[in-house]
Amino acid sequence: MYNTIEELLERQRRTGTPMHRIILQNEMNLAGITEKEVYTRLKKRYEVMVASAKKALYQPQSMVLGLIEGQASCQQLYAGKQSICGPFLNELMAMALSGSEVNASMGRICAAPTAGSSGILPAVLLSVSKRYGSSEHEILSALLVAAGFGAVITKNATVSGAEGGCQAECGAAAGMAAAAAVTLAGGDGEMVANACGIALMNVMGLVCDPVAGLVQLPCSYRNASGAVNAVLSADLALAGQRTMIPVDQCIDAMYRVGKKLPGELRETALGGIATQPAGKEYAKQLQALTSSKKED
């Protein structure tokens, strides 16, 4: 039994069992299902993730107000050209944007850990597994680790933007994705934990300020930057960087910071960019749409 990342690591050190197998065993006991069933369920979700990361790359998705319509294809086109970050990071961002765009347009996604942050994990899994030539089983095992870390964050903190701000949604997603990336790259348990901790540190205090209350802006950019946060945190950890503050304490800090955020900055659209003049203008446009619907 584990409730923290440290307990997971401790069990790994004591038994020599790989991290994904400890998490797997816990799920088998919890749900009363076999290893094969866990992997079948993971695969089903992974397939939805892959589809959402690719769907908007060449086809803009229509949505209410259209604030992020066409972002993914715009970035995908650019990824093939001369750029500052190069094709790897640009394709990664394009896929994260695709997930956000699909979500905003009422397309099918897999919440990971939430719908608003669902672009991050698929983009990281696809990019990093491509780089390392990972097998499907390796990808699903990395997904297992990501979900296991997500469960610890859910248990000891929150993954709800209304409760903890964007750091709880896109921050948690980046922490989970960073853990998955290090797993795919073959890093050890300590590195996996460090990567997650670094990703959380990087966005400590990030607020949730959705324009017009829609899951569009800044959500899509937070998904793109969340995916980049995940891979850079993974590389920092793989290089041997340590968080110094244990990851469980980073998770606790994130929770406490989230609680201290004023309500205006927790998914209420009452602060941040949402209440800037341009943000208010979009809210007004949405309001007009709502009123016209009522008259129907």
Partner: protein, 220 residues
């Protein structure tokens, strides 16, 4: 760790919001399962955040699609209004005035082809999870997270015993059971959650138990 990986990775759903889209669709789909009968008109009373932010989150389409039996990950939800028109289903949305209910609540009224109507109130409680709180004026508590039996019976001794005995014979383990009644000796409601899928045969057998008025199985 008592949190499942699949509560973290999931639900698989239509965006953009697990509470305002996926939860709304599931709520209406469970409601439809309870109604069972064909209907030609369905109305949705939206309360709280459902009314205020519903348009931006596709809550209306999700509710309508759920009432038509579509699952919360069905991509046809986005264009469901066209489908409803093709099927000749009438629908209506209005703002509901309610007291002391969850922020994301809907009142769903089905007007059935046989002239009867049924009014179901429920809410979306986050992460795609739902709770049905009222059935035709009777308080209830249905989450539909496991297969659920919904029994209405005369408030007489022995009914619950007969039902649980029958379930045991069928090999169905009872996980949760709640009985509530309107008043002593009159109508009572029984909600039973089981560990296994509830088949049509079980439902038929429970219907034969004396004093049982109606039985519905929700296998979501």
């Amino acid at each position: 760790m008592n949190i499942s990986l699949f509560d973290v990775l999931g639900p698989v759903m239509i965006g953009p919001s697990s509470s305002h889209t996926a939860g709304a669709a599931k709520l209406a789909r469970v409601a439809r399962t309870i109604v069972e009968k064909p209907f030609h008109l369905v109305t949705f009373g939206l309360y709280g955040s459902f009314a205020k932010t519903g348009v931006g989150h596709g809550t209306r389409q999700a509710l309508l699609a759920g009432a038509m039996g579509f699952k919360e990950d069905d991509e046809r939800i986005k264009t469901i209004e066209t489908l409803a028109k093709q099927e000749g289903l009438e629908y209506e949305f209005y703002e509901a005035e309610l007291d002391g209910v969850h922020e994301n609540t809907a009142v769903i009224t089905f007007y059935c082809d046989d002239g009867s109507k049924m009014r179901i109130i429920g809410c979306s409680i986050g992460g795609g999870r739902i709770r049905i709180t009222e059935l035709d004026g009777l308080a209830s508590d249905i989450t539909a997270e496991s297969p659920t039996l919904l029994i209405t019976q005369n408030d007489k001794p022995g009914v619950i015993g007969a039902v649980s005995g029958l379930l045991a014979e069928c090999g169905l383990n009872i996980a949760v059971m709640r009985v509530s009644r309107v008043s002593r000796g009159e109508l009572a409601n029984c909600v039973i959650e089981t560990d296994g899928r509830i088949g049509a045969e079980v439902v038929r057998q429970i219907e034969k138990i004396p004093n049982v008025r109606s039985v519905r199985a929700i296998n979501i």
